[in-house]
């Protein structure tokens, strides 16, 4: 088996047994990137020297007899909105084209403590706004399963890197589906954790009350392994929950017997591709055969989620992105006569169209005279979604749903129709609105061979159970293939 074909877990085991060295694994991945990334374009920055130096250190310490963390020496990729000390962090924007953070994000600190090997920073939609990664200022990432198609977004680079075997795992961020949808489009596993589980310190903010960092991996066990490494309380993030979590892979082979899984009828209406609907229903049937109970539920608030999400996230983004003004760091326009000019020109030239669209939308929603009608209403809708979720979770362990209404679009298909692109988030945004965790994993393919993803949504801090159910489905599919 090629080194780059191994899952992170398999690689970790092999490294631990010293069957291969981290330097070998890292070199294999760097070669894969060189070979494929010209077409895939998953990476914005490849940190070759840093990766090899880290790998060398790991090998040295292992040779000296040290017991290292499971992720030590396993090469991963980091989405380019996560601050990496000394390494360019651009958010795929012209605005931060030259920004080198003098600090590591909290998740990077945790991974460095565990001797990660960082292969590089991955492409994304600019400032995480988008669902196709076409909004990147720098390049368009291609879906590894079909290069004429998008990898999804905004963590398209991370999903593509994992899907193309150009990284053993990757970190992404999810505000309205940005980990789960690209995972579904590229046929990999993505988890958006409970809000507050992973520190947001060092994640360049899009929408503060919705953002979370999560792993993208080849399979469910890998995902649990990476989440275990990055989860935990951080004093520097006031929204970080003060809890300890242990190993998320604990009990992963427990199966789904006795679990109650809900199917929200509002999710299976108009707009959903029939192939995807069939694939999800087939998953429900599989779960039934494995001993779970499937229950149809109604969640009326879900219809409000999408418009409320776009108001809230744009409003928060309009404020979070105001700091990009050309004064202290990042891009600054060349021509200006006054401070107002400096602001206007820098932001006009530095931001792409989708970012501008959302800043304007968000500023409008917060403006005097409109705050009550839009922002406040959206907050109220959010409470309804939280209550709806809580109600369902009182009787069910988790919700099963599609991730996206279609499989991967063709590159260029949605560029002139942002609204229809927004509609693609309909199944993922309620999760961020409620702050609950959700796992996206492959459950089939459409007739063109494009991956179909399924979503498991659970109550707060139920990641272990979601992994358990995801793993059960994975094993079932492996069995079916034989």
């Amino acid at each position: 088996m090629k080194l780059t074909d191994m899952t992170a877990y398999e690689l970790s085991q092999a490294l631990e047994k010293m069957e291969i060295s981290s330097v070998e694994a890292t070199q294999a991945y760097l070669e894969a990137i060189e070979e494929k990334d010209g077409e895939t374009a998953a990476y914005l920055t490849v940190t070759r020297e840093i990766a090899l130096a880290a790998a060398e250190k790991v090998d040295e310490r292992r040779a000296a007899g040290e017991i290292l963390h499971p992720l030590a020496g396993v090469p991963g990729a980091i989405k380019d909105n996560i601050c990496t000390k000394g390494v360019k962090t651009t958010c795929a924007s012209k605005m931060l084209g030259n920004f080198i953070p003098p600090y590591d994000a909290a998740v990077m600190e945790r991974l460095q403590e565990r001797q990660m090997v960082m292969l590089g920073k991955t492409n994304m939609d600019e400032f995480a706004m988008g669902s196709t990664t076409e909004n990147s200022f720098y390049k368009v990432t291609r879906n590894p399963r079909d290069p004429s198609r998008v990898p999804g977004g905004s963590s398209g680079g991370s999903a593509a890197a994992v899907g193309a075997n150009e990284a053993a795992y990757a970190l992404g961020s999810d505000t309205g589906g940005s980990i789960r949808q690209p995972a579904a489009f590229c046929g990999v596993v993505g988890m958006k954790p409970t809000y507050g589980l992973v520190s947001r310190y060092g994640l360049i903010a899009f929408a503060s009350s919705l953002d979370q960092i999560g792993p993208l991996t080849r399979d469910v066990r890998d995902n649990a392994m990476v989440l275990t490494a990055i989860a935990g309380h951080d004093k520097r993030d006031a929204t970080s929950v003060d809890r300890t979590y242990g190993d998320f892979a604990e009990g992963i082979e427990g199966g789904v017997r006795g679990m109650k899984i809900a199917l929200p009828q509002e999710y299976f209406g108009e707009g959903l591709s029939p192939e995807i609907r069939d694939a999800i229903l087939a998953v429900a049937k599989a779960y039934r055969s494995l001993g779970a109970e499937i229950e149809e539920v109604s969640m009326k608030s879900l219809g409000h989620a999408l418009p409320a999400y776009y108001i809230l996230s744009s409003a928060e983004a309009s404020s979070n992105l105001a700091r990009f003004d050309g004064v202290k760091y990042g891009f600054r326009a060349e021509n200006y006569e006054s401070i107002d000019d400096l602001y206007k020109n820098t932001r006009s030239e530095g931001f792409g169209p989708e970012v501008k669209r959302r800043i304007m939308l968000g500023s409008f929603a917060l403006s005097s005279g409109y705050y009550d009608a839009y922002y406040k209403k959206a907050l109220q809708a959010r409470t309804l979604i939280v209550e709806d979720m809580n109600r369902v979770f009182r009787s069910c362990d988790m919700i099963l749903s599609p991730v996206a209404p279609t499989t991967a679009y063709r590159i260029g298909e949605k560029v002139s129709d942002p609204l229809s692109m927004y509609l693609g988030d309909v199944y993922t945004v309620p999760v961020n609105m409620a702050g609950v965790p959700a796992l996206s994993l492959p459950c089939g393919e459409d007739k063109e061979g494009l991956p179909i993803g399924m979503q498991l949504i659970g109550p707060a801090f139920s990641e272990r159970k979601l992994y358990q159910a995801g793993y059960a489905l994975e094993m079932w599919r492996k069995g079916e293939k034989k």
């Binding site: 996560i82 601050c83 962090t89 958010c91 931060l96 920004f99 953070p101 003098p102 600090y103 994000a105 947001r200 310190y201 060092g202 994640l203 360049i204 903010a205 929408a207 503060s208 009350s209 004093k235 520097r236 993030d237 006031a238 929204t239 409003a315 928060e316 309009s318 404020s319 105001a322 700091r323 990009f324 003004d325 004064v327 202290k328 760091y329 401070i339 602001y343 500023s363 917060l366 403006s367 005097s368 705050y371 922002y375």
Partner: protein, 473 residues
């Protein structure tokens, strides 16, 4: 002041809280550091950084609210105030919008017209912005040391009707803040800043006129001058048929005038919304009770006690309570003294004269000053000697009675001793004698002075005067 128009003033006072570190990060708040040496990625608003609330800031703000009789909110939150300016790194200021920590308070002021109560609408916490330094070459330098220093904004009701009241209000507010220990209130360092909102209206009218705002007046003198000028300007404008423009005006210290600031500050829609990076502030009754217990007895309560217990004048009492250390000293000295009225007067005259500006440490033991007051009361020394003793003890603190004994400073009241000296003075000062006899009664003063000289300052002035009057008839 015009008899037709009255001025209506509301004050917004920003007070820097003297916590060790900033409101949302661990940087030092110390004044006077070299530019950009007390900042970090958080207070610089660098991408990916997050604020974490310094709990001591909340405690200090609550104390300020309790000390001004405010209702303390059990649940409040922080909101973002969004606007663009180079001294604001995040392009928003974290403040409080509709749920401030403290509301509906008041304080009492003393002016020539008597006592008046000024309402306090609200007190909320917020972060300070950086400093902009405009250079001669036309550029602007940004110093972010001050970014994130914790502030409370204290908003008064528009109850103030004169420059005198405004100054009295700020002085009282400052004294209260000093007592609670939440700030060092140094106006010259900017840890207390005053914005004045002023409008005028015809006396008897209920509706408010259009107001202008004058920001960052950093001395009592400037507050008074700015108000006086702006009132006059608005009255003259209205009488000439003009309309008052709602705007921010800059007070020019050199000319004493206010000028319109060209920047369109009022065009800002701050788009306030709750800051999603911070959790709500929830205060328990226990916490509030504990903070209440940590507040010392405040100026007005002490003043009332001094008037009642000691029968001091309002002016002396007000002067004593203006600084907590002075009031503490006075109370300590009064505990050892019977002549408390004398004591109060000695402090507000001689001690204040000797105290360097801004200093509150008195190098004389309270008991010693109390003794001097008593010696005066007992008539064993005169006021001139009292002054001498204080000055001597200022240099080297010691038992004043022992010193008086050693130096022979006791008041000389023996007529037998004084009479010949009075007679001599009359012989030596013919001009004063004839002036007095010609009706200039004040001419007795220099004669008293001459006799005192002969007694090396120890003569009893009352006896001397009586003897002089007797002999001058």
């Amino acid at each position: 002041m015009s008899t037709v128009y009255e001025m209506v003033i509301g004050l917004e006072v920003h007070v820097e809280l003297k916590t060790k570190t900033k409101i949302f990060c661990g940087c030092s708040t110390a004044f006077g550091a070299a530019p950009n040496t007390q900042c970090c990625p958080v207070c610089m608003g660098m991408p990916g950084t997050l604020p974490v609330l310094n709990e001591q800031v909340v405690e200090y703000a609550v104390k300020a609210g309790l000390a001004t009789h405010c209702t303390i909110a059990r649940y409040s939150k922080e909101d973002r105030k969004n606007y663009f300016y180079p001294d604001l790194p995040k392009a928003y200021q974290i403040s409080q919008y509709d749920l401030p920590l403290c509301e509906h308070g008041w304080l009492d002021i003393q002016t020539k017209a008597g006592e008046k109560r000024i309402g306090i609408t609200r007190i909320h916490i917020e972060e300070d912005a950086g400093k902009l330094i405009h250079t001669a070459s036309g550029g602007t330098l940004c110093d972010y040391n001050r970014c994130g220093v914790p502030l409370i904004e204290i908003v008064s009701e528009p109850d103030i009707r004169s420059a005198e009241e405004a100054v009295a209000y700020v002085q009282k507010l400052r004294a209260i803040m000093l007592y609670t220990g939440v700030s060092d209130c140094k106006m010259q360092e900017g840890s207390l800043r005053c914005d004045v909102n002023l409008s005028v209206r015809k006396r008897g009218e209920k509706a408010f006129g259009t107001r202008t705002e004058m920001k960052n007046l950093n001395s009592f003198q400037f507050i008074q001058k700015a108000i006086t000028y702006e009132y006059k300007r608005q009255v003259e404008a209205l009488e000439a048929g003009e309309k008052i423009v709602q705007e921010t005006r800059r007070f020019d210290e050199k000319t004493g005038k206010t000028f319109s600031m060209r920047r369109k500050e009022n065009a800002n829609d701050y788009r306030y919304f709750p800051d999603p990076d911070l959790v709500p502030i929830v205060l328990s009754d226990t916490t509030i009770a504990r903070l209440e217990g940590e507040i010392p007895i405040l100026p007005d309560e002490r003043k009332a006690a001094y008037l009642e217990r000691f029968g001091l004048t309002a002016a002396d009492a007000e002067a004593l309570v203006s600084q907590r250390e002075i009031a503490d000293y006075f109370e300590a000295a009064a505990a050892h003294s019977k002549g408390v009225k004398n004591l109060a007067h000695l402090i507000t005259s001689e001690v204040f004269r000797l105290l360097p500006v801004g200093e509150t440490r008195i190098p004389i033991a309270p008991a010693h000053l109390g003794r001097i007051a008593d010696l005066l009361e007992e008539g064993r020394i005169n006021s001139g000697t009292g002054k001498r003793l204080i000055q001597a003890l200022w240099e080297e603190d010691q038992d004043p009675e022992a010193l008086a004994e050693r130096e022979g400073l006791w008041q000389q009241s023996d007529e037998g001793v004084l009479r010949p000296l009075v007679e001599q003075a009359l012989i030596e000062n013919e001009k004063s004698v004839s002036d007095y006899k010609n009706g200039k009664r004040q001419a007795i003063q220099p004669l008293i002075g001459q006799v005192l000289k002969k007694t090396a300052g120890k003569g009893n002035p009352v006896v001397i005067r009586r003897l002089l009057e007797e002999l001058l008839q």
